[in-house]
């Protein structure tokens, strides 16, 4: 049987659910209603509007929050991935399972759970009060938003790094040790460089959803964090200006593609192998 045929359902799926909607959004972003009903004319007005100072400020704010979340995920995720890769094979799969388990619960529910934990008369403050410690106001702060993002997106950082570390040829590590490198040197000069593709995939996988997230800042940020995702959502659901919303979405997409392209330039292997390449 021709194995190529097996990819057809996937191609159909990707065309219907990604390519066609993206084309529609693009189309929406460059037209506006014409003078007659049901006619349309070409227009770049939505892009000009999307590029004004206020909206660029929103984009920048989202970028900063996404960057902070991605950095936090990397700082927590790399040691975690390293730790998991050092476990016995059996324990490894168990820990990975534990890591994946929260993802079976709807993200909205998990965010609501954090609201219950962090709110003023919530679980965290009850515990603090029990030990006679001062009350903390954590909900509706930058901290809560970044916490929510890290909590939701951390597995996307750990898994690719873990896979990359596992793939490092044990012979290379042995050779380094054989030739007199200390464990620290072996890590810095052999394992870490070889795990960079995993890091890059991880950063991409965390940065993308953080940048476009709108539910987490809404719930845990108390509506005070205007992310580009919130702005786009409002154009579709509130003002009903799909053209402007589409232009904002295209702007976000361009920004993300640019970031991914910049990231890939740091990846020494992406040119000659498929590793570390984001899955599209």
């Amino acid at each position: 049987m021709d194995t190529k045929k097996l990819s057809y359902p996937y191609l159909v799926w990707i065309t219907l659910t990604i390519l066609v909607p993206m084309l529609l959004i693009f189309l929406y972003s460059i037209i506006e209603p014409g003078p007659e009903p049901l006619t349309f004319q070409f227009s770049l007005a939505h892009y000009l509007r999307a590029l004004d100072g206020l909206h660029l400020q929103v984009l920048w704010g989202s970028f900063v929050i996404a960057l902070a979340s991605t950095a936090a995920c990397l700082l927590i995720g790399y040691p975690a991935a390293w730790f998991i890769s050092r476990l016995r094979a059996r324990s490894q799969s168990q820990v990975i399972l534990l890591l994946m388990m929260p993802m079976w619960i709807n993200m909205l529910l998990r965010s609501y759970a954090w609201m219950t934990i962090l709110s003023r008369n919530g679980i965290l403050n009850s515990v603090l009060a029990f030990f006679g410690l001062p009350e903390q106001n954590l909900l509706y702060t930058d901290f809560a938003v970044i916490l929510g993002m890290v909590y939701n997106f951390l597995p996307f950082m750990i898994l690719p790094i873990y896979t990359a570390i596992l793939k490092v040829d044990a012979n290379l590590v042995d050779a380094a040790r054989d030739l007199g490198a200390s464990p620290g040197e072996t890590f810095l000069k052999v394992i870490f460089p070889l795990s960079i593709p995993g890091i890059i995939t991880g950063i991409t996988m965390v940065f993308l959803p953080s940048m476009s997230s709108f539910v987490i800042p809404q719930l845990l940020g108390g509506g005070q964090f205007l992310m580009i995702g919130n702005l786009i959502e409002r154009q579709y659901l509130l003002t009903g200006n799909w053209h402007f919303g589409s232009a904002l979405a295209m702007l976000l997409m361009a920004f993300i593609l640019l970031s991914v392209w910049l990231m890939k330039r740091f990846d020494p292997k992406s040119m000659d192998s498929g590793e570390g390449v984001i899955p599209w």
């Binding site: 206020l54 709110s119 509706y140 108390g222 005070q224 205007l226 659901l237 509130l238 009903g240 200006n241």
Partner: protein, 346 residues
């Protein structure tokens, strides 16, 4: 291949299950806005099946109706949205011969600006927007929106995460109309909200209900019906309608054009205003009923005996009430102003 066919058939059967021969009525209402028992009673009495969907904002509801992917028979928009839907020809004129129970509706809630002749809508719930406050924390009388700018309550204030409701508070405090289209007035309201932002814990919607019941804040801008529920759960909470005036609103039942079953839709609207059903719903939701028989039935009960659920006539007459009008193209200007508030607040 046969297996695939089997699966396809199975899926088709499942999809068809929705229709078990009974007539169907598609209802689109706000979340948590009806006693499920009332729907069950209607289904039993009329031998039909009600497909009940919910929305969380007028704008979402409007986009869904415009998209036309589901043909709803009965929808529950608010005043200003009804005004817009009437002007766009989206609604069916009602046949009041089929709505005998509409006579149970208080005259005070008829003939309002959004549907002056009451041709398209039947009021379902109504109310005001005011301040819920914790009497244990807030000292002195609460009678003005200005208390939401009082630095003594910094970090203890919830605002409403809705552009028009939050702008309304600032506009009213400044003495302007909540429907203003004057850019200077809107800019003044924006600046006032930015000035307030350091005192605000969060801009929230339904979450304010659980938060105030838990006593997480001292002051919150809330809809009167939510206030009635908060007060019934937490006796320390009280409700005030600020003297500068506020938004008087009505959510009403309408039948969109293109409804598949207008007769049954009329029957449903009529059923909602049968005295016992209207009472059941107002008890369940705790929003103020326009139905005088239902209001009489709950009169004197603790949860209903306050300014939130049943403000005395003299209070309503003494405070300048205003209803939202359809903002038209100003919706985008409000949206931009709200973005400016949130960016300015950072």
């Amino acid at each position: 291949m046969k297996k695939l066919l089997g699966i396809a058939l199975f899926v088709l059967t499942l999809a068809g299950c929705g229709n078990d021969g009974r007539e169907q009525l598609f209802v689109y209402n706000w979340g948590e806005y009806m006693d499920p028992e009332a729907i069950r009673l209607f289904e039993d009495e009329f031998g039909v099946r009600v497909v009940y969907d919910t929305f969380d904002s007028n704008e979402t509801m409007y986009q869904v109706l415009r998209a036309g992917t589901t043909q709803y028979d009965v929808v529950f928009p608010s005043d200003y949205k009804i005004e817009r839907m009437i002007s766009e020809g989206m609604l069916l004129p009602l046949d009041f011969d089929k709505l005998p129970n509409a006579t149970h509706i208080s005259e005070n809630l008829l003939g309002l600006g959004f549907d002056p002749q009451n041709r398209y809508s039947v009021p379902y719930f109504w109310g005001t927007v005011g301040i819920v406050y914790d009497t244990k924390v807030v000292s002195g009388p609460v009678d003005s929106w200005s208390i939401l700018w009082d630095e003594a309550y910094g970090g203890q204030i919830y605002m409403y995460d809705s552009q028009r409701d939050s702008l309304m508070v600032a506009l009213k405090l400044l003495g302007y109309s909540l429907n203003t289209t004057d850019m200077d007035e809107l800019a003044a309201a924006r600046d006032l909200l930015i000035k307030q932002s350091p005192l605000v814990i969060a801009y929230v919607t339904d979450h304010v209900i659980m938060s105030m019941i838990a006593g997480n804040a001292a002051l919150a801008v809330v809809y009167s019906g939510d206030a009635a529920f908060i007060m019934s759960e937490n006796p320390n909470m009280n409700f005030a309608i600020p003297k500068e005036g506020t938004n008087l609103w009505v959510d009403a039942m309408v039948i969109p054009k293109g409804a598949n079953n207008p007769d049954l839709a009329h029957a449903f609207i009529n059923f909602m205003h049968r005295a016992d059903i209207a009472e059941m719903n107002t008890r369940h939701v705790m929003y103020s009923t326009p139905n005088v028989l239902a209001l009489e039935a709950v009169k004197g009960e603790v949860w209903a005996d306050n300014f939130a659920y049943n403000p005395p006539r003299e209070v309503l007459d003494g405070i300048p009430m205003e209803m939202f009008r359809d903002p038209g193209a100003y919706l985008e200007i409000y949206d931009r102003i709200w973005s400016e508030v949130l960016i300015g607040a950072r």
